[in-house]
Amino acid sequence: MFEVAPFIPFFVAAAIALFVRGWPRALLMVAVPVLGLANLWLLGPGSFGAYSVLDFDLLLFRADRLSLLFGYLFHIAALIAIVYSLHLRDTMQQVASLLYAGSALGAVFAGDLLTLFIFWELLALTSVMLVWARRTGRAYLAGLRYFTLQILSGLLLLGGIIFYAQAHSSLEFGNIGLEDGAQGSMGQWMIFLAFGIKCAFPFFHNWLTDAYPESTPTGTVFLSAFTTKVAVYALARAYPGTELLVYIGATMACFPIFYAVIENDLRRVLAYSLINQLGFMVVGIGIGTSLAINGAVAHAFNDVIFKGLLFMSMGAVLQMTGRINGSELGGLYKTMPKTTVLCIIGAASISAFPLFSGFVSKSMIMSAAIKNGYDWVWLILLFASAGVFHHAGIKIPYFAFFAHDSGIRAQEPPTNMLVAMSIAAALCLAVGIYPQALYSLLPFEMAYSPYDLTHVLTQLQLLFFSALAFVWLNLRRLYPPELPSVNLDVEWLYRRLLPTAARNFVAGVFRLDERARRGALRIIERLLTAMTSHYKPDGIMARSWLTGSMVAGVVLVLGVYLLLGFSR
């Protein structure tokens, strides 16, 4: 049978999209993810496309239940994002987004590390185009910083692969782990760090909050779906059950919510919230039991859909009003009721309300944490869950669509945007109401039911009292107002400290150089004045001497000769 790797349709379509315009291009772009999904469904588990380079056996396509689920997810995400961006007339953005989605699929089905590396770099290369597509000075610079970090991740991956291949003489992309204390652990750590950068581990997270909010309204929807989820997949494939991940994940779930509360740019709030959701997945991977891995993967699936929905609704607001800062928005529900409702569905899903998608996956990670004795981690995750509702569930819809009336009377976004958001919202509800459909696709078999009385009740209690805290703080006017501002984060190190230090260093060198030159000049000048002063009109060499004093001089010289003659 003729087998086509999932990334090929996207790459071919991107090439064709360069030459066609208008409705043929739109048709092509919608058809690709649909046909691709059918292709993947028919392919099923298995592998093909073996080739060898320099004695290494490489494998272009290797599918098991884990990669297949991510494959389905990426097709669905691509379809939604493509429909959302159908109104665009921007060849660069449309071609880049097709290539980007294709690269993600290539990475997920890569059977060996070298193939993974190629698609890893392609992801960086194609996604930065979506940032630059905004065509502003800020987006250009944010894109450069984004690209630098992504390339750094790629280089680390390549270095790690070289070390790993030397130690294990195999390039298979399987369980790598950190435990192996013998030779080659260097490579394992480098690969871990490469995945970590792409997964927005703490201290490496600012590329995400920096670049995603600077992309175009449609570009951010693509960005939020692929890069970080490829990293989650890679971690789940290579480092399941690595305990370090539990603590990294708990940190990721926790600290961004503080930033999200005080951030003004609503898409940046969502970017911080994206890190928070990644934290849950990373904890799940770190625990590593079948329930935990299932939970992490299921949560990745749901997160792509509901985070995409939230980014789409904020993209619609940005598209229609030209603004995205909470301090400038408000009262939009009056003229954008459909967008408001769709945004609220996304908000309910990310907050894990019963009957919405977040509920059925987040609970798996939570219960895996407590079953495996991670009590403190569980408490942190519970706090993070309450915090998610606070900043993503309430803050986003409240400040955009309600709060004080900003006086903006923007219309609903174009139909294709509404359709894309409706598909995502329908998926959120479908998975929330009938989770078994998603569960049946998960990597491990399991019997898990999220809808029992205890779980529903406790979750509702948690969420309603988080909301009560919001209401109480708002009524008491204790809630921090949205302020036009920038909040310092780790990025300050490389956006302010390092450039300033470099500038000061260069300025210091120049100042030193200038001072040295000036000092030398002054010495020369002084020397010259000292010299010339003797030849000036009053100078000792220019004076007209008296005859008497000249005779006296000659007598003196003769006297000296006389003395010398006697002393002989």
Partner: protein, 97 residues
């Protein structure tokens, strides 16, 4: 579409009603805690009204700490731009922001 006066959330009476329903649900949820027997896995989970208290206190703490963080993290909106954009513009010779 934009009947400015007639919108639902512009009327204080509607807001009051919604808040009252909301408080009612909150009270009901706490009351259920004493009626329903929850199965618990964690030692603190069994405490009465653990989840409502944790949610409320957690969120208030979150906001208080975040507000306090503003004191040393908040900078003017153009904090980075006024340095970075000026430099890049002078390098590239155009000034689109």
């Amino acid at each position: 579409m934009s009947g400015d006066k007639s919108d639902f959330f512009d009327k204080p009476a509607n807001i009051r009603l919604m808040l009252r329903v909301f408080y009612g649900i909150c009270a009901l949820l706490v009351a259920l805690d004493f009626v329903v027997h929850r199965h618990t896995e964690f030692r603190w989970e069994g405490l009465p009204a653990f989840y409502p208290l944790y949610g409320f206190v957690g969120c208030v703490l979150l906001v208080v700490v975040a507000k306090w963080m503003r004191k040393f993290l908040m900078r003017p909106e153009d904090y980075y731009d006024r340095v970075e954009l000026v430099e890049s513009d002078s390098q590239r010779g155009r000034g689109d922001v």
